[in-house]
């Protein structure tokens, strides 16, 4: 390759000239395409082709080779949504199945992470040992999800000599020991809480950076005008944080639709199938039950749920600047 300095375009517009928005010549387009080519190739091989393959697979019965065995049309989807109580069960109340569990995750995981993260961010700014607090809360972010799972398996242990939860519940409050992961009514919330613990640090760090970006004068002015702290939070901070909050929410949403590792480690989707979520069902059907086509249908449903949020996110990034 040549070591010549980068050439300056000979026929380019004069510097500072008014021709900035001129149409790109065919050659320049070609040149641009060349530059993005490596990225496009990688993207095509590792993202676009597998996505196409998965979507196609969802309409087939497949074998362990992931081949297109037998065309089924939309049967996989029909079965998933109407005839698979492990995925969607509307016959009882409250409804159950992986899809509903994921909905629980969406509601509780996102709101808890946001509320706790925002609360910590607002409070952390006010203390002298801010950095220490933030570091402590951020640490779980640096732990692999599988390790988080192991830690919380211990925390939730039914033996109050091992499990912190039961030590408090049983030892301090004098209640009967609870099997946090063995009770179908509790298990999903127990998992959600563990995952909140692992992600709240991220929310806090992003939001506290955003809080620091709010001009002090505005708050000072509000204080001078006699606004209380609650009003400042409610009417100044919150509106000014709306963009970073929405960005974090989208991050949390994507995180929660694809949640898998912590469930795999902690409950394996059990007891029974009560703590399965969408991504776990995909894994279970594809690799455990040997039905890659059916698993691919689950993946497509997941994609359909995530795609609109992604599009929204990209649009936002294009039109606005994130303060974080």
């Amino acid at each position: 390759m040549s070591t010549q300095p980068l050439p300056t375009p000979v026929a380019g517009p004069p510097p500072g000239g008014g021709l900035r928005k001129r149409a790109w010549s065919g050659f320049e387009r070609f040149q641009g395409l060349l530059f993005v080519m490596p990225a496009l190739v990688v993207l095509a091989i590792f993202l676009i082709y597998p996505a196409y393959y998965t979507i196609r697979l969802a309409f087939y019965e497949s074998d362990f080779h992931f081949g297109f065995f037998h065309y089924l049309g939309v049967d996989n989807f029909k079965e998933l949504l109407t005839n698979d109580p492990d995925f969607l069960d509307l016959s009882k109340f409250p409804p159950g199945g992986a899809l509903i569990n994921n909905l629980r995750w969406v509601i509780f995981y996102i709101s808890l992470s946001l509320i706790i993260g925002l609360g910590l961010a607002v409070l952390a700014v006010r203390v002298r040992y801010e950095r220490a607090v933030k570091t402590a809360i951020f640490v779980p972010m640096a732990i692999a999800a599988t390790a988080v799972g192991i830690i919380w398996l211990l925390v939730y242990n039914t033996d109050s000599n091992i499990g912190v939860m039961n030590a408090v519940w049983h030892g301090v409050l004098g209640q009967h020991q609870v099997s946090w992961l063995g009770n179908p009514a509790i298990v999903n919330y127990a998992l959600i809480f563990a995952y909140v613990w692992a992600s709240v640090g991220f929310v806090m760090v992003v939001l506290s950076a955003a809080i620091k970006g709010i001009p002090m004068e505005i708050m000072e002015a509000a204080r001078v005008d006699g606004a209380g702290e609650w009003n400042i939070f409610r009417r100044i901070m919150l509106p000014m944080l709306s963009l970073p909050i929405s960005v974090v929410t989208i991050w949390l949403f994507i995180n929660v639709i694809k949640v898998f590792d912590i469930i795999y480690v902690m409950t394996g989707g059990g007891p029974g199938t009560t703590s399965r979520v969408i991504a776990f069902t995909m894994y279970e059907e594809t690799f455990h039950n040997g039905r890659p086509g059916y698993g691919a249908a689950v993946a497509v449903i997941m994609l359909v749920l995530i795609a609109p949020v992604m599009v929204l996110n990209v649009r936002r990034f294009r039109t606005e600047k994130v303060v974080a």
Binding site: M1, S2, Q4, L6, P7, Q31, L34, F35, M37, P38, V41, V42, I45, F46, D63, F64, H65, F66, P85, L153, Y156, N157, T158, D159, N161, Q177, V178, S179, W180, L181, G182, N183, P184, Y264, V265, M266, T267, G268, G270, P271, G272, T273, Y283, F287, H288, N289, G290, P292
Partner: protein, 431 residues
């Protein structure tokens, strides 16, 4: 000129990038050094240690290294690696049902094609074991280790203290359970919870089913010839909940679902013991005395008795299980390895660890150092009726699904019928 070189470099870059990704994709899984094999197994703890002793002896004798890969949740591991064209050389498979599935899809090498003739195998193993490792008349699995699952673990000194006699019938077992409860002790600990411990419930069910419905129905049920909606199934499930309920197990039914298999052994035989009785296979002895609590004294603080009879006419058939070694590849190293582990001397090394019982005919009883292991080997060798672990006979991953169904059963004993019919609809046509 300059522009040309720019384009040239851009093109070069693109080509290199594309080339790199292409090689990354087409690259065959890196070949292990010719003189080594990979064995994938679900064994951990004392069972794994015992196996590593055998492989160490093999390496010493042949110079072939053995790479051990542990995978408790082995089905997904094997499936993914098969799909990627990179299976392990040898897999230790606990389920004849899964061996048949793999054999049918052409993933396994038959033993005769690997130089282990049927005659040779029959010289070392009884026909019953060999049949379990076969599919469509061809032999695929070398029976590696066997276990009785028809034993119940107890504390002899505690039985002595309360003047309990080893129960011979289910009624007597229930009486002891009630007596423990009356003395303020927790009778049982059962671990069938996170993660992947649901199989312990399937073993409970199988012992009860064999004793209430009989061996013939047992065989038919687990080979797809009898439906799970048969009243005998619900009956056995109901009998199971006579012990596995909130009254008699540690922390109640939800404790069962929140405890792992090894955790529940610790509940009974650990230094901080909380329950008195435990049911699982012969391998519990090794795990309890080697992993959980080395201070245990076999015969004094830990011992086992055969699963009691429920219906006198049906006696007490032995439910047992075995793990089989099967080959995914045909190499000289694989041939040597399978040949080696099927020999008597390898079996002797194996059982000398006290962790396993060998199905190999050439392993003498005196090779077992511990009374617990010797008793188990004796039970297996003298069983009048031997039944293979039913859930392991179910096709594909249905052994797990059946465990999930039983997790439902102990939570909602009132819903047994609907739980069973749901399971039946899932497994219908899968045999």
């Amino acid at each position: 000129m300059r522009r040309k070189s720019l384009i040239a470099s851009a093109v070069a870059l693109a080509v290199i990038a594309a080339g790199l990704t292409a090689t990354a994709i087409s690259a065959k899984p890196t070949k292990k050094s010719a003189n080594s094999i990979e064995v994938l197994s679900l064994w951990g703890g004392s069972e794994k240690d015992a196996f590593l002793k055998v492989t160490a002896a093999f390496t010493k004798a042949t110079g072939i290294k053995v790479e051990y890969t542990s995978a408790r949740d082995f089905i997904p591991d094997i499936q993914t690696r098969l799909a990627a064209g990179n299976p392990p050389d040898i897999g230790i498979l606990p389920r004849p049902g899964y061996i048949a599935t793999l054999a049918k899809q052409g993933s396994l090498k038959s033993l005769s094609s690997l130089g282990l003739t049927n005659k040779y195998m029959a010289g070392n193993y009884s026909a019953g074991w060999l049949k379990l490792g076969s599919s469509s008349g061809k032999l695929y699995g070398v029976p590696a280790k066997a276990n009785s699952k028809s034993v119940i673990w107890y504390k002899p000194d505690s039985f002595k203290k309360y003047k309990f006699k080893v129960p011979k019938t289910w009624a007597q077992l229930l009486a002891i359970t009630k007596a423990y409860k009356a003395k303020g002790l927790v009778p049982w600990s059962v671990g069938a919870g996170p993660n992947q411990s649901q199989w312990t419930l399937t073993d409970w069910f199988e012992n009860i089913y064999a004793r209430t419905a009989g061996p013939a129905k047992y065989q038919r049920l687990f080979t797809g010839k009898l439906k799970f909606t048969d009243p005998s199934v619900a009956n056995a499930a109901r009998i199971m909940t006579q012990i596995i309920n909130n009254k008699y197990v540690l922390n109640g039914v939800q404790g069962v679902l929140g405890q792992s298999f090894v955790g529940s052994i610790t509940d009974v035989f650990g230094t901080n013991s909380k329950a008195q009785l435990f049911f699982e296979g012969g391998f519990v002895g090794g795990i309890a005395t080697q992993q959980v609590n080395p201070a245990l004294k076999p015969g004094k603080t830990i011992a086992d008795f055969p699963w009691p009879t429920i219906k006198a006419s049906l006696d007490h058939p032995v439910v047992g299980a075995a793990d089989f070694a099967a080959a995914f590849k045909d190499t000289p190293e694989v041939r040597q390895f399978l040949k080696y582990i099927s020999t008597g001397p390898a079996g002797v090394i194996w059982v000398s660890t006290n962790a396993v019982t060998s199905p190999n005919k050439k392993v003498p009883a005196r090779a077992y150092p511990s009374v617990l292991a010797r008793a188990e080997a004796h039970q297996l060798a003298t069983a009048k009726t031997f039944l293979f672990d039913g859930s392991d006979l179910l096709p594909g991953a249905f052994g797990d699904t059946w465990g999930f169904a039983l997790q439902d059963v102990i939570q909602k004993p009132g819903n047994i019928k609907s739980i069973l019919s749901t399971f039946q609809s899932k497994i219908q046509g899968k045999f």
